[in-house]
């Protein structure tokens, strides 16, 4: 039975489980929509067909994994890079309208660079400064994106 637990941790089994979960998710999402409408196929047709295919493929993968036992999932290096990079992007998006392009870029760079353990603090800060300057110049000034460069509450004060 520990073998079964092992096989359930395999890439194929987890992949299959993901597919099954996605198909259920999609089917749930379109539960209120029509499959067949008066004009032909309804809005739910394509998603449900797709969900059906995913369900089938997911089951095939899971069953195959349980029968054959494939390689195990490999995240021994931890999930730190994934978490940090994602947080970096999410922070950028959250802060952008609030503190402007300059600070958002700087924060994004600092958080992203934390995903590498091999940078000295001076390197991180100078990289953040350089990239902020470049970003502000290229996107804020040259391409004139309609996004505030500096926090709006500073601008209104002056």
């Amino acid at each position: 039975m520990p073998e079964l637990a092992d096989r359930m941790c395999s890439k194929d089994f987890l992949g299959g489980a993901l597919l099954v979960a996605l198909s259920v998710f999609v089917a749930f999402g379109v539960r209120d929509l029509e499959f067949h409408s008066d004009q032909g196929i309804g809005p739910a047709y394509f998603p449900l067909v797709g969900a059906g295919i995913l369900l089938l493929l997911g089951v095939i993968l899971c069953v195959g994994a349980l029968l054959h036992g494939q390689d195990s999932i490999d995240i021994r290096h931890g999930i730190a890079p994934a978490v940090l990079i994602t947080i970096s992007v999410v922070l950028f998006g959250s802060l952008l309208d609030w503190v402007g392009l300059a600070f958002s870029s700087a924060v994004a760079v600092l958080v992203a660079s934390a995903a590498s353990r091999h940078m000295k603090p001076a390197e991180r800060i100078s990289l953040a400064v350089i990239l902020t300057v470049l970003t502000v110049f290229i996107f804020g000034i040259f391409l004139a994106l309609p996004v505030p460069i500096w926090p709006t509450w500073i601008a209104t004060r002056s």
């Binding site: 890439k11 987890l14 992949g15 993901l18 999609v26 999402g29 379109v30 929509l33 029509e34 409408s37 004009q39 032909g40 196929i41 309804g42 809005p43 394509f46 998603p47 797709g50 295919i53 995913l54 493929l57 997911g58 095939i60 993968l61 195959g64 999932i73 490999d74 995240i75 290096h77 931890g78 890079p81 994934a82 990079i85 994602t86 970096s88 992007v89 999410v90 950028f92 998006g93 959250s94 392009l101 870029s105 994004a108 760079v109 992203a112 660079s113 995903a115 590498s116 353990r117 091999h118 940078m119 990289l127 953040a128 990239l131 970003t135 290229i138 996107f139 391409l143 994106l145 996004v147």
Partner: protein, 499 residues
Amino acid sequence: MTVDSGIIHGLLIAATPNNLALCFLGCLLGTAVGVLPGIGPLATMAMLLPVTFYLTPVGALIMLSGVFYGAQYGGSTTAILIKLPGEASSVVTCLDGHAMAQNGQGGVALAIAALASVLAGCLTTILIAAAAPPLAEVALAFQSADYVSVLLLGLVAAIVLSHGSLVKSIATIVIGVLIGTVGTDLSSGAYRLTFGIPALIDGIDFVPVAMGLFGLAEIIANLEATRGIGRKPADVKSLWPSLNDLKMSLMPALRGTAIGAAFGLLPGGGPTIGAFSAYSVEKKISRTPSRFGRGAIEGVAAPEAANNAAAQASFIPMLSLGIPPNALMALMIGAMMIHGITPGPNIITKQPDLFWGVVASMWIGNVILVLLNLPLIRFWILLLKIPYRFLFPSIVVLCCVGTYSISNTVSDVFIMAGFGIFGWILKTLDFEAAPLLMGLVLGPMLEENFRRALSVSNGDLMIFFQRPISASIIAICAALLVGAALPALRRKRETVFVE
């Protein structure tokens, strides 16, 4: 006028100082826009549209076209260097192009991409000059049912080009198609899979998904694998392709040109499906398919030729029939209408200046782009030498701002973050991301045409097998799928036999 006199007439028009300058400007802008993630040629052309009011019709079209195929060149550059597809059609170049860069052959990859593109561009220009009207007629024979099979062919091509299991490749494509259904259903107006989130009402755009799946997920994978140091690309052996490299690239580039031109001609086709198909064909007919994905030069030459050929061939239905095969061409038609020109079958006879001028400028544009891009290779390769720990935060920020710049909403940035995680999950579970993008791009068109085909046939599914074009393409799809499945089945039978 005959083709020869037409070309000469066109060259005389295209080579005036004004038009040359406009061509150069368009190419330059296009390349810059193609390299920068986020803003694409469509947005750039839209921004330039008011400017074209002050130009002559020929000048306007020349500049806009320059932006269009300039973006193809620029998109390939980031695809090869940092595995970030600047354009949908550069997704395939990411695969072997970036692998080549990792092997120290980045300069070679960039050069081959440029050379294959210019070869394709010149050949397609000749094709347009010689056969635009009859080719346009061929495109007219295609109806909705046929488009469905063409798009299915594109999806099958995406399956064939994947390395891993067939099941996983089909799954990723279906996921891509499902992501494409998110948003407002066109025919019923119903919201699909939006879960009450206003940002999703317009659907999920390609760019945040591509940035997340390819850009962010790649960075995460890289950092994970090397504990934060990042893979160091091998030492650059040479910046220029060797004679052997050129020899190996010639036939793939020619085949890519043919495939790209064919797909560019068909409405619904275009550079993306052309590039994917060209890659799949090369992988299928290669004697050493295992090299693909690891730095096979054919995997760069063929799709690059295809996407350039398709980009230019898509002018044919636009100019001859007035049918825009995609949004970009629709913009061109808009530009022409600003000047009071309506494209149509008579445009070659009624507006020879326009037609031949644009055709000739395509050739000039390709030459300009090669002259622009080849010297830049040295510079790009220097960029690769930056230690990864400085490079990856730059890419992250670039993706962030680039994604924001598409529609000036932060929701795209969050979508990108989400797909970064999803891409990491896919990689960890050994799924491939490229087919997903294909599904996302082709899914909406597939559904639209499927719906139309069924309404024409009153719900009869046999229409796909009754129309000769559709039936033959479906047969090709089936053959390709079986061909892809056979080796896997054979292996399973072998292991059973061994046990």
